[in-house]
């Protein structure tokens, strides 16, 4: 029997989650393969919600597949595609289908995706979505109506430790905690000195405001090539791959860059765990989910 992510967060010293992406289309065989590969190796599996504004199978459907295959899903829910009615309805449906964890995000803007002409929604923002989850947990909806049967979600959110400027980011981080976020899965982290400074500030903020307990899982995005690393530096705000890592990838033998990327990810995870920088890691091996076990092996977590 799979353990609830809520219990794992409380009991385990170092929590590991991973992200999988649903297919664009109805063929879920690869998705199911990833679920079976990872369900016992990590503590919970996130499912992205139309990641990068590219239309796919819904996060909810994939989360249900995870439940059916004996895993523990984390439903990612963005504010981009649904207004407050659809968001609440999706949350209730998720609870009904056995999903117990939800990660509340703002969502990428529509123009970066494959339907750039679409009408963006953003009726709520991520803080308000977290509040909404709390209302549903208390047995009422956003309008104050009583529910026949409440939810009891464990809610989480995201934070960007390397955002520049960081101060407004921390303002929102604190609001998210107050709005009920109990865990954070961060944007990709590569420079551990910067991440350490972020953690110090975040911990101070939590202590000052007597908030807690809040678990923070460092985001680990698998680097597949030097090109990808450079692309992220240029195009993805809040991600900063240090030049030394890019050099390692460039220096790799032909066809071995991915292997080097896996070693880098493993090394980062090991260092985070040894130094107890935070409470765990969240592995995003975008499109390379089948290599997550290799990353775990490199990190000594297999």
């Amino acid at each position: 029997m799979v353990r609830l992510f809520r219990d794992v967060l409380q009991e385990k010293d170092f929590v590991v989650t991973a992200e999988i992406g649903p297919p664009k289309g109805t063929d879920v065989s690869r998705l199911v393969h990833h679920i079976e590969l990872l369900r016992d190796r990590v503590d919970a599996l996130n499912v992205t919600d139309n990641q990068s504004s590219v239309m796919r199978v819904s996060s909810l459907a994939a989360c249900r597949l995870i439940v059916e295959h004996g895993g523990e899903p984390i439903l990612q829910l963005t504010c981009r595609d649904r207004n407050r009615l659809a968001l609440q309805s999706e949350l209730l449906s998720a609870w009904v289908l056995g999903v117990r964890n939800v990660l509340c995000l703002t969502g990428d803007y529509v123009t970066v995706g494959d339907h750039p002409e679409a009408k963006p929604v953003f009726d709520l923002d991520s803080v308000q979505l977290l509040q909404t989850v709390q209302y549903l947990n208390q047995g009422r909806d956003l309008a104050g109506n009583n529910l026949e049967g409440a939810t009891d979600f464990l809610a989480g959110s995201v934070v960007t430790p390397e955002a520049d400027p960081l101060e407004p980011q921390l303002v929102k981080f604190a609001k998210k905690v107050r709005a009920g976020a109990r865990f954070f899965q961060t944007q990709a982290v590569y420079d551990l000195d910067r991440f350490r400074r972020f953690m110090e500030q975040a911990r101070r903020l939590l202590a000052q405001n007597q908030m807690g307990p809040v678990k923070i899982l460092a985001g680990i995005v698998l680097l597949t090539s030097a090109k990808m690393a450079r692309y992220m530096n240029e195009h993805v705000p809040g991600i900063m791959v240090p030049e030394s890592l890019i050099e390692q990838l460039t220096g790799a033998e032909k066809g071995k860059a991915l292997q080097v990327g896996i070693q880098i990810a493993g090394r980062l995870i090991r260092q985070i765990q040894q130094e107890r920088l935070c409470d765990g890691v969240h592995i995003m091996a975008i499109g390379k989910e089948e290599r997550v076990p290799d990353i775990l092996a490199e990190a000594g977590l297999a």
């Binding site: 970066v112 009726d123 955002a163 400027p165 705000p237 809040g238």
Partner: protein
């Protein structure tokens, strides 16, 4: 001010189709200021249309007139004596002006020559940027005079998203991140405390279309009873 831009000439030509007698109707208010549909722009558009017709040998008459304002009925009356002479009226007003023209002269085909873009301010000569979404519930007192509803593509009310990038916006790196502006300005004002409260979900009812407003002085229902 309403900011608009002229449609491409080809598009306007296609709308005019075979119309022979065309009156270009300018508007001397917002669109004159944003150099899209005032007297000068009417003159340029008429000139371009004439040159097109002249080059192709098309039979066409292009007259021009610029009204003080197209979105107020009073200013349209002066046109009444002339409209019958034309097949179409090509309006260089904002969408509001075009519609009032169509309402006032309902037997006449009215065509829009502009695309109405936004309510904004001038950044400098010839450059305008959007500043107000007419959301009907101003919250600028909470955000240091910088509107997140207009200036953040995701209209976030509680702080920046993860896409904030060295003070710029991920959706368009040319734009400032509204939330960095808000933070910096409140910091300067010593009012960061304004960011403490979690802003509730926005009430979008005032934005229900079509909106209508009756000034209190013109409301017909009886005044509240005196105590």
């Amino acid at each position: 001010m309403i900011v608009a831009e002229r449609k491409p000439l080809d598009e306007i030509e296609a709308m005019l189709a075979s119309a022979e007698r065309v009156l270009v109707v300018g508007c001397g208010t917002c669109v004159a200021v944003c150099m899209a549909g005032g007297e000068k722009e009417v003159e340029l558009l008429a000139s371009e249309l004439r040159m097109r017709a002249q080059a192709s040998g098309q039979r066409r008459r292009i007259d021009q007139v610029t009204l003080t304002r197209q979105c107020d009925r009073e200013y349209l009356d002066a046109l009444a004596a002339y409209v019958e002479e034309y097949d179409v009226l090509l309006s260089t007003a904002c969408g509001a002006g075009v519609q009032l023209l169509a309402e006032r002269f309902d037997g006449k085909l009215i065509l829009p020559a502009l695309n109405t873009r936004f309510i904004g301010t001038a950044e400098g000569p010839g450059v305008w940027s959007q500043r107000c979404l007419a959301c009907g519930q101003c919250l600028l007192h909470l955000t240091g005079g910088v509107c997140p509803v207009t200036r953040c593509p995701k209209n976030l009310l509680n702080g920046p998203c993860g896409g904030t990038n060295h003070g710029k916006c991920e959706v368009n790196p040319e734009n400032d991140c509204a939330w960095t502006l808000i933070y910096r300005r409140l910091e300067k004002l010593g009012r960061l405390d304004l960011l403490d409260a979690i802003q509730p979900p926005k009430d979008y009812r005032p934005m229900t279309k079509p909106a209508r407003l009756v000034h209190p002085a013109f409301q017909t229902e009886s005044a509240p009873p005196t105590k």
